[in-house]
Structures are given as C-alpha cells and as structure tokens.
Symmetry: C2
Subunit: 457 residues, 2 copies
C-alpha cells in the first residue's frame, strides 16, 4: 500500500478549476477563431535536436529529457560515466518534453512549408514543461496559449492583436487594463539618439526599474553599465514624457529625429494606431511606452505587454514581431508576429476580482432526488425529458434520505434539486428546490424546463 | 542548419485535423456534461512509484521515463552500470509519463478522498504515452477519452453509459452501430455450468474467435487449453443461441440456472435493460453477447464494447464495472464503472463513412479581398462589422492581385470572399463570391451578414 503523491511542481485540475479554466480558454479560442486563427497541436515529445540550443544554456538545463525506451544503457560504457552528464546524456536520451510552443511551431512550419498557405495564422493551447525550481505560482508543467501569424510583414497583424486582447478581456469582464506598446527599432533609435548605439539592451533593463527605484538609482545603474554621462543626461527628456499618446509620440519623434531606425519604429507604431482608428477600435487601453523592453533578443518590431489594473498580478499577455522564425530549421525569411495569454495568471486575476460567473463553477443544473421507489421510476422518465431539453441533469442513483441527497447536491454545487416521490409521480409534477435561495415550489414539467433554461440565459 | 523531424510514433495535428478532432470531442464532452460528468485533468508526469506495477511487466517496459533534472548521474556508480537497466533506472529517473487515464484518476481519488462527494462522476480527455513499437494506427502519443463514476454500485450508471454512447454516435451521425454487453459474473457462471470453474479466461479467448475460425477450431483450442471433452460438449448450446435479446437471455438463464454467480450476472443485465426501458431508451443497438470477454483481469461486473457497422475499424468504445479502483493507493471499497471512446478510431470511422460536416473543416467564413487602397480602408471597417455580427472573418493583409487572394482563400478552405475596391467603398456594398459554386453577387452589408449567418444554421 502506498500513499500517492504528485511530482513537485505539478498539479491536478479538479472539476471547479477545469470549469473556470475552460471559461477562460473558451473566450480566448472563440476570439482567435473569429480572427481567422486555426488550431495546431504538436506532440509533447520532441527530438532533443529540435529543442537543444534554442533557449540558451539555462534553457537547455531546464529541458525535461526522456530516457530512451528499451535498454537505455546499451550505448553507454563505464568510461563514459566518468565524463559527466553532458557526455552521457546524448547516449541515453534522444527526446525531450516541449519547453514552449514557439519552437514546435517553427518546426511545424519548416516541415510543412509546402502545404501551408501564407500568411499562416495558428493558435496553440498546450502544456509545456520546465525543470525550474518549483515555487509559488511557478510550475514545472503549465499551459501556454499562443497565437502567431507568419509569412507577412503587414501591420494589420499587430493591430488585430490589440483587437483580440481587447475582445478577450472584455468577454472576461475585466474592467480596467493597459496594453503597453513599444517598438524594437524605436528602442534602437533612442540608444542612437543618446550616443549609445547598440546598447538598448542594458538601457532597457535599467529604465524598466524607473517606477520602482526612481531616476537617481537608474542613473547609477547606467553608469555602472558603462553609459557615458552625456548619454545619461541625454535621456532625461524621456523620464518626463507627456502622458497623452499623441503628445508622447510627437515628443519621441523630436527625440529620435536623427535616427533612421527610430523614425521607422515610430512610423510603424503610428501606422498601427491609424489602422486601429480606421477599424473603429477604442484606443483607451493603448499605452505607448517607449521604455517597454520585453525579450529583446528575439523581437525585431512592435512589442506588447498587457497588465490588468488594480490587481497584484504581473503581465497577463504579451508578444511582438520577429523577423525570422524558422531560419534555424532551414527555412529563411519567415517573418511574423505572435502573442500569448498567461492562463494561470488570468485565472488568478479573475479570482482576485471575483469575475468568475457562477455558471463557470457549475456542471449539472438539476439533481433529481428519489425519495421512494415510485419516485425513482418516475425520475427515470423525467431524466430523459430534461436531457432532451438540453438541461444537464443527474438522478441520485438510489433511493436515499433526502438530507443525504441534498448534501450531495450542495457539495457538487448543483443549483436545483427536483424531489420525486409517489405524490409527484401521481400528479406528474416536480417539487423544485433552489438550493441557493431555499425556495421550493411544485411545478409542471414544462415549467421546470422553462425555469431552468431561463436561468441559463 | 538542421532538417527537423518528429519522434517516431508522434504526430502533429494541423488545422483540418484539429477542427475534425474537436468536432468529435465536442460531441463527447457535451454528452458527458449533460449526464453530470465533470472534467478532470492530471499532470503528464507522474511519480514512477504511482505508475510502476499497475500495467503488468510488459506495461512497465512501455512506460516513458523522465531523466532526473540537474546532475542525473550523481547517485550512479560505475559498478551500478554493470548491473543493468533495472538497477540503474531508479537512480536516474523518478518520474514517468502517464500511460493511461485510469491510474492517475485512481491516484486523484485516493489523494482527494476527503474533498470529493460520491458518487463522483469524472471525465478526462488527455494524451497518454506508450513506448510501443510504432505502426499503422498505433502511436506512442495518443489521446484517451474516459468517463468513470465511482462510489456507487447502482446499475443506473451502466444504463446511462448505454445512453451516452447512443447520444454521441447519434450526434456524430453514425448510422449503424452495435453495443455489445456482457457480465463478468455471467462468464464465471458459464464456466461453472460446464464444469470448468474459474477457467472463464481461456474460455473467452477461444470463444472470441468463433466468428473467425469456426466451432471446430475453437474446440481444438479448448482441448489444448485443458478443457475436458464434457466441458467442451457442454458449451455447444451457446454456439447456437437465439438472436433476439429476450430469447437469448432466457436460454442463458436455463444454461446457468445452477450457478449463483451466473444468475446474479444475468439478473444485473436484466435490470439494466429494465432501467433503459423505463427511461424510454431504444434497445436497437443493445446486443447481449455472452461471449464478450474484454479485459477480464480488471472488470468484475457488466462489460461493454461498441463497434460501428459497415466499416473496417475495430471497437471504438468500451468499458465495464470494477470493484476496487483505489485499493492499491490505500483507499479500499471504491467500486465504479467506466468507459472510453477511441478518438483516433472514431476519426477514421467518420472519415471512412464521410460523415465530417463541411463546417468541421472550416475556420474562417469570409475573406475580405482588397483590390485597391480605397478597398483596403473600406475593408477595415467591414472587418469590424462582420466580427461584431459573429462572422469569423479575415482581411487579406495587403492589396494584392485578386487571383493570389482567391488562391489563398481556396487553400484555407474559406467558403466566401468579399471583394473590396473603390466601387464597393463608394456604394457601401460588397461583391460576395461563393468559392464552392462560383456564384458572385453585389450585396448590402446587411445582406452579407444574413447570408453568412444563414449559412451557419
């Protein structure tokens, strides 16, 4: 006999969590599909040759590797053992678990280049695995939820990402959020403008902390990183940019007017705004933030990051444009733009703001409770009728004390019970009890259906 | 530069396959939920202590094991290496990939016994992994789709499984199928009746081949397995049972009348039939087959197996009742009944019978095709309106030759394109072309919406 447990950093999702996760994922999927994105699923296992070297050295360490099946020792000699894990690994494992959804997507595009029609819009919602040290809010197995369009440089894609984020957040009832937008080339232009060409990486890391540590400390950090005093002083106009989008973009335009890269970046952001306006979109949540950094090594164009206001939770969505998704797999010149939703964080946001609708925690709408044998037989006929009407219904599987049955309904969060006994069978009625209000009434079957379907709408 | 590939026995599911798989899974989920089943997801990784020893020796071989993260060699000495894989394995791997959904479910029930209200109805749709030799139709990663109710012995559960199978197959438009039903105790009773008590295992293996190899060869096999001549002769009435359910059950009743186990099994089957009749169910597909064997070691009560008629594909669904799901995890006396759908096989069935609806292959309903700059700007406004009306729409992301845009729509299987140029912009119309029929007409926007929504219904 063993006491079962779960591997560190993994979770079960029970009925309530699943209902709530599905509530979030349905809003996302529905939006992706409305915008013409098609679903893709790739296997959990990839060849290590596909995964290794794509996530930096640290990422390689965090890959979960799968032991070769059969006699995994057959290629290993005792001498190998002394040479350490790096020599042994390729001899005992050739597969690993997916680390993200981007590399498998790139592999898919490269392998299916002949079949796909570009621009190719795909979304993918699957778990990924990372051998990170587990801690609060960080898991070794968690879902990612990505959408990418590849094979086009049209800024319509960027504009549509803003629209999709707005639609998902609106559908989920999130009252206030901010979509921060910046452009990689604008960051390069700012570096150029302060005479620190190519140093936008460390620049952003430092400036990113402005809210937290203040301008004085940011300057210190920049000095430490080798920025000249004149570069640092050159930055100061950016610390007090006007708030409004137009004013801010115009101030930035002045700032980077001598940088061709910077002008190009700003112009693309302006074009995104123009497209959104032509589409009648609200720009209320659109926040131009010239100091947004986000994954510099990978992105080459616009970048996004979404935060929900008035919660203690970090960014819940983000993404950006890249130039070359599939080059490493032998297919050059596939530009694209992608973004993702953080499902775990969105879950926490909806929980913190109490935005989960009651239905997202419910499965069954009606529990039929047989209190005698005649009631059981009567309930059998009702069950069929209720389900035919589309009402998710259950029959308590045996005649039992009503108290026990009500407790069952309560624990399973079933909102209505229908009490079935000889009396109801004779009169072809149902005693319907609302477990939330305690209200009970004797109804005809038509009335029951009407009541329960009405409740759903 | 590397040529990417997939691990043996794994697959990508592209947009068309995903749409079709979702079509199947939606029908199944919808049915599970209508019957009060709640969704559960468990992690892909389980501790090897949870998995090992649950699937027999062969099963243990087929488990995918995950290499410990960090320095996986640290507990291994060169001397261990000589002792073979069985000694090395526990020192380098403590986790494995889920092999089925039943053991994780049992682990979940045992771990959450205090929280769950019984009877607990759960469904689970997730991939599983087996290091089987890959071959046509057999994969190393594939989805299972299980529903179980535990914590009750009520035969209502068995009856409802029949109803759920009928509902799913009807929803999928499968015209003819057969639900074979038998009972483990009836099999024991038959063995007893022919004086071969406890030998129902080999008996079923042999009799299972009746259709294929004929009665003579079955007798030979039984002789080889040590059945006495009188036992074999005693079986002959079963070879020519009447076809009709009632007649068959009555003949069986005579056959096993001296076996208490047999009578109990037959009585339970009769009770299932009675429940189904009280619920107004059709018994058309219900086929009582006293020779159905199916996983003898695990099941203890009713067993099911579903075949689609007129296709070359094996059973697509099956299950049965068991006495003790969680005993191995320290929680005794949890009886239950479960069944599963074979998603890959159902896919093949629908494909072979051409039952996939066209919508299951489509994502986007409308592609807007801008033929000039004015048309592009006009299309931007249309796009918002179409999506607000709930029509999944895309705009080709740049002005391009119409031919190129139509080819794109054709390859993505988008049924309608809306041509947008200066003329349409001026007249606030859309030239809507049906790519299936080739028919093109100039419509007002209201007409377009009506047409495309009408198409969906």
């Amino acid at each position: 006999m063993q006491k079962p447990s779960l591997p560190k950093g993994t979770r079960d999702f029970g009925p309530l969590q699943m209902a709530r996760r599905n509530y979030i994922l349905d809003a996302i999927k529905d939006t992706f599909q409305l915008f013409g994105y098609q679903q893709l699923e790739t296997p959990a296992m990839e060849n290590l040759s596909t995964l290794t070297g794509k996530y930096g050295e640290e990422g390689d360490q965090l890959l979960f590797k799968i032991l070769n099946s059969g006699d995994f020792l057959k290629e290993l000699s005792p001498a190998d053992l002394g040479k350490g894990a790096a020599v042994v690994l390729p001899k005992v494992a050739e597969k690993g678990l997916r680390y993200d959804l981007t590399v498998p997507f790139a592999r898919y595009v490269a392998m299916n280049r002949g079949e796909l029609s570009f621009p190719f819009k795909r979304f993918q919602i699957q778990p990924v695995w990372r051998a990170d040290r587990p801690q609060r809010g960080r898991y070794r197995e968690f879902y990612q939820c990505d959408a990418d369009v590849v094979g086009t440089r049209s800024l319509l894609c960027e504009a549509e990402i803003i629209l999709m984020i707005q639609r998902v957040f609106t559908k989920l009832g999130i009252p206030a959020f901010s979509i921060k937008v910046n452009h990689r080339q604008l960051l390069a232009g700012i570096s150029e403008a302060i005479g620190a060409q190519g140093m936008e990486g460390p620049l952003c890391v430092a400036i990113d902390k402005l809210d937290k540590i203040g301008w004085e400390k940011v300057q210190e950090e920049l000095r430490q990183k080798g920025f000249s005093e004149s570069s640092i002083q050159g930055l100061s106009p950016l610390v007090q940019l006007p708030k409004g989008r137009k004013e801010r973009m115009s101030a930035l335009g002045d700032f980077i007017k001598h940088s061709e890269l910077g002008r190009k970046g700003l112009q693309e952001l302006q074009e995104m705004v123009d497209l959104l306006e032509k589409m009648g979109a609200s720009l209320e949540q659109f926040e131009f933030d010239p100091m947004l950094a986000r994954g510099l090594s990978y992105y080459t164009g616009a970048i996004f990051e979404v935060k929900v206001l008035n919660v203690s939770i970090g960014s819940v969505s983000g993404g950006g444009r890249y130039d070359n998704l599939t080059g490493v797999f032998g297919l050059p010149d596939v530009p694209g733009v992608g973004f993702s939703f953080g499902v775990d964080r969105l879950y926490d946001v909806l929980e913190e703001l109490q935005l989960f609708p009651e239905e997202a925690s419910l499965g069954t709408s009606l529990l039929l409770c047989p209190v005698d044998e005649a009631g059981f037989d009567y309930a059998l006929t009702l069950l069929t009728q209720m389900r035919q009407a589309g009402i998710a219904s259950e029959l308590y599987p045996e005649v039992a004390k009503l108290k026990k049955q009500l407790e069952f309904a309560f624990k399973k969060q079933i909102a209505h019970v229908g009490i079935c006994g000889q009396e109801e069978a004779n009169s072809k009625t149902l005693s319907l009890k609302n477990l939330t209000t305690g209200h009970q009434e004797k109804l005809s079957l038509d009335q029951v259906v009407q009541k329960l379907l009405g409740n759903k709408i």
